[in-house]
Amino acid sequence: MAKISNIFEPRIVCFFCKWCTSAGADLAGTSRMQYLPNGIPICVMCSSRVDPEHVLWAFKRGADGVFIGGCHPGDCHYQSGNYKTRRRVFLLKQVLKDFGIEPERLRLEWISASEGKRFTQVMDEFIEEVRSLGKLKV
């Protein structure tokens, strides 16, 4: 993707669980699939380690988008972590609204270790979505 200078480049913090989404991202790498570089990964053991505080912190510090990637329902390496994540993200989106932050700036996706292709598609799609929302103003 050639960079056009006046295009808005969103800053995106990505939390990946180690067992599924990060492994899916690795697979995209070994398969040399290309995607947009705006998301910077932070790998945690499980998506359930992501605290709403971490997400709010990221927005406070100027992130335009926050991505959380976990295992598909039923596949969490720790049995049920991703269900907790789903619940927390649902509530957090309400909180974001109260703060005047578009809830679409926070995205939770299930991406398995075998979904390299889907990983790149979701990344590109989310980055484009945040791009269209523009810079975060609060």
Binding site: R32, P41, C46
Partner: protein, 653 residues
């Protein structure tokens, strides 16, 4: 502030071609906490590792960040290196700038370089607050669970048991044996499959260290490497194993016929049945789906004739709970159904069969006693067409992978057919012949040269019946560049191999990764082919990918030796990145307790105050409870909130 050393690997050109490693070093050098930064062509190589070691000493580093490939590849390498150099291994972190950066942004060097810098900064921040940790020791239960009683599970069980450890072999069918017991003769040596397998089955049944739980399935699993708790559902056979003396009188009186699984539906069995004469455990089973039922007893003829009174209509499903230290997954394969292939008649022609059915026709214990005869009219077919790659290697409509063994069994089928029907004609449609293996190419050549099997290079495009009821195969001969039409009496389809029916369900219970088709993933495709990345799980046989018997046996023995390695340890080391409670902050609210999937959290009264504890042996370090604690009283070691906040800052500042 720590003294962190950052090593940026070029990975030859894999990283350096896209990421400007010099620039990265220049920028990272100035980052707070970084005492040293440099780039090197292959940090994981011997000289690379030596360089790291020397620098640790020379620059008095107390923490390391290696920016290289995915941590799944070299985290252990560099943590071991740290330990050898006197640095606590948990002070070493990997920044993944290859799989998640250089390889995926090849056309944008500037952005890739910026991203690499940010990734490294986050890891430097993490390293900066990492504590030195020691692995947590746990005891090992020295009993293995083997799931699946095909040749893979049989071999793994025997090897583990022969090393002196207890084995629990769980097979969901009434007998062990898997697909190998159904085969006629085996390529490339043509040994009789049953003749080589049954002695092993008997050995399993007699082995004092092996318990066979057939007609059983794993229902639930919890725990972790060395200490799994499993619940196994033993389905009722309605026949008491120890009482049944195999007289077979019940079969004579049973009025209900059902398709025989052993003969792949080519023949019938009764509702009470022995799957095949050499079945292990050697006992009959009542198939409740076909039996008219006994609530109340609708027929009961079998019970009337059973002298030892082995029939027990009151038998109930039983749940067996066991502790095991390691689990071998050996659930094998099934064949993709011909019903999926519209152009070959969706399985509606009787004389178009799959490879396993043809094995049963060839087998001396099969429905025709080993004679090749048509199902439709019992006649000996004079021209048989064998079609390769059915469902395999078809990205558009079916499965993209190669099932690996079909070329070989197809050659075997054609050869054995010619041995049985010397005046018959065998025609093989193939895309190309894959015969890698000792004696394999020679075997295929023999099929063609000595047994005069005709090989036509091309895919069969359609199979149908013409007006006279004759089977017609249309295909292309790509060598001659023309269309061919073959009239024949029988067609054998080499169906793709797929993970065994229900594998998906089991895999999700075990929580081990699998590929897009449901084959269980190995921890590393080259270097750790018999283990799962989930500790304590091992793989053997076709559960991992299609393979033949010699490969299956080799992998099973490999998996078994990994299990015995594990059992030979005094105690196991458990990752110490567990939850830790700050007792001063804990309010005793108890929110964390029900959240833990491993029951590692509990409330305790200490100095008249309620506080939550962490059982470090049970804690797997998911972090669920930490994100839920309203008082921030619990933190995950080396994934503390403060670390994560700083990592976020490193991205955004």
């Amino acid at each position: 502030m720590k003294r962190i050393g950052v090593f940026v690997c070029w990975c030859g050109s894999n990283i350096a071609e896209t990421v400007d490693v010099k620039k990265v070093v220049e920028v990272i050098k100035k980052y707070p906490g970084v005492a040293h930064a440099e780039d090197y062509i292959f940090v994981c190589s011997n000289p690379g590792q030596k360089l790291v070691q020397e620098t640790i000493k020379e620059k008095r580093l107390d923490s390391l960040v290696i920016a290289c490939c995915s941590p799944t590849l070299h985290e252990t390498t560099f943590r071991d290196l740290s330990r050898l150099t006197g640095l606590n291994p948990y002070q070493c972190e990997i920044a993944n700038i290859r799989e998640q950066c250089s390889w995926v942004h090849k056309d944008n060097k500037e952005e890739a370089t910026r991203k690499a810098i940010k990734i490294i900064r986050t890891i430097v921040e993490k390293a900066n607050q990492n504590e030195s940790l020691e692995p947590i020791s746990t005891p090992v239960t020295r009993q293995a669970l083997v799931i699946g009683g095909g040749i893979a599970g049989i071999q793994a069980s025997l090897d583990i048991a022969n090393a002196g450890y207890e084995v629990l072999l769980v097979e969901r069918n009434p007998s062990i044996g898997g697909h190998m017991i159904q085969l006629s003769e085996t390529f490339p040596t043509l040994d009789c499959s049953q003749c080589i397998l049954t002695p092993k089955m008997v050995e399993v049944s007699r082995h004092p260290k092996i318990r066979v739980l057939a007609y059983s399935e794993v229902q639930e699993i919890s725990g972790y490497v060395g200490n799994f708790n499993v619940k196994i559902l033993k389905k009722p056979r309605y026949v008491i194993e120890d009482k049944c003396n195999l007289c077979g009188k019940c079969v004579d009186v049973c009025p209900v016929a059902a398709p025989s699984e052993f003969d792949n539906n080519l023949a019938a069995r009764k509702a009470i049945y022995l799957p095949f004469p050499q079945a292990i455990p050697a006992t009959y089973t009542i198939d409740i789906e076909h039996c008219p039922g006994f609530l109340p007893i609708a027929c009961g003829k079998c019970a009337d004739v059973c002298e030892p009174q082995a029939i027990d209509f009151d038998m109930r499903p039983e749940i067996i709970e066991e502790k095991v230290g390691a689990i071998v997954v050996a659930t094998g394969y099934d064949l993709y159904s011909p019903k999926n292939i519209g152009e070959y008649g969706n399985g509606k022609y009787e004389d178009v069969m799959d490879g396993m059915q043809f094995e049963r026709l060839l087998s001396a214990t099969g429905p025709t006693g080993g004679e090749v005869r048509r199902l439709s009219d019992n006649k000996v077919p004079k021209r048989v067409v064998f079609v390769s790659c059915v469902g395999s290697r078809d990205t558009e409509h079916h499965l993209p992978y190669c099932s690996k063994i079909c070329c070989m069994y197809m050659a075997k089928h054609a050869m054995l057919y010619k041995h049985k029907v010397p005046d018959g004609e065998a025609i093989v449609f193939y895309i190309d012949t894959r015969a890698g293996g000792k004696g394999y190419e020679e075997f295929v050549t023999r099929t063609q040269e000595e047994d005069k099997v005709i090989y036509i290079r091309g895919k069969a495009s359609k199979i149908f019946k013409n007006g006279n009821g004759k089977l017609i195969v249309w295909g292309a001969d790509t060598l001659l560049g023309k269309q061919v039409e073959v009239e024949c009496d029988m067609v054998v389809l080499s169906m793709a191999m797929v993970p065994s029916n229900g594998a998906k369900d089991l895999i999700s219970k075990l929580k081990i990764p699998s590929d897009a088709y449901g084959f269980v993933n190995e921890a590393h495709p080259k270097l750790r082919p018999v283990e799962s990345i989930s500790a304590g799980f091992y793989l053997a046989g076709c559960t991992q990918a299609p393979k033949d018997i010699p490969e299956t046996v080799a992998q099973a023995s490999g998996a078994a030796s990994k299990v015995t390695d594990l059992f030979a340890e005094e105690e196991l080391k458990h990752e110490p990145i567990v939850a830790a409670v700050d007792e001063d902050l804990c309010s005793g609210c108890g929110i964390c307790v029900p959240l833990c999937p491993y029951d590692a959290r509990e409330l305790e009264i200490k100095d008249e105050k309620r506080i939550a504890k962490v059982n470090e042996i049970l804690c797997e370090g998911c972090g669920s409870c930490i994100s839920a604690c309203p008082s921030a009283a619990v933190q995950q070691r080396n994934f503390k909130d403060n670390q994560i906040f700083k990592m976020v800052d490193a991205i955004l500042s």
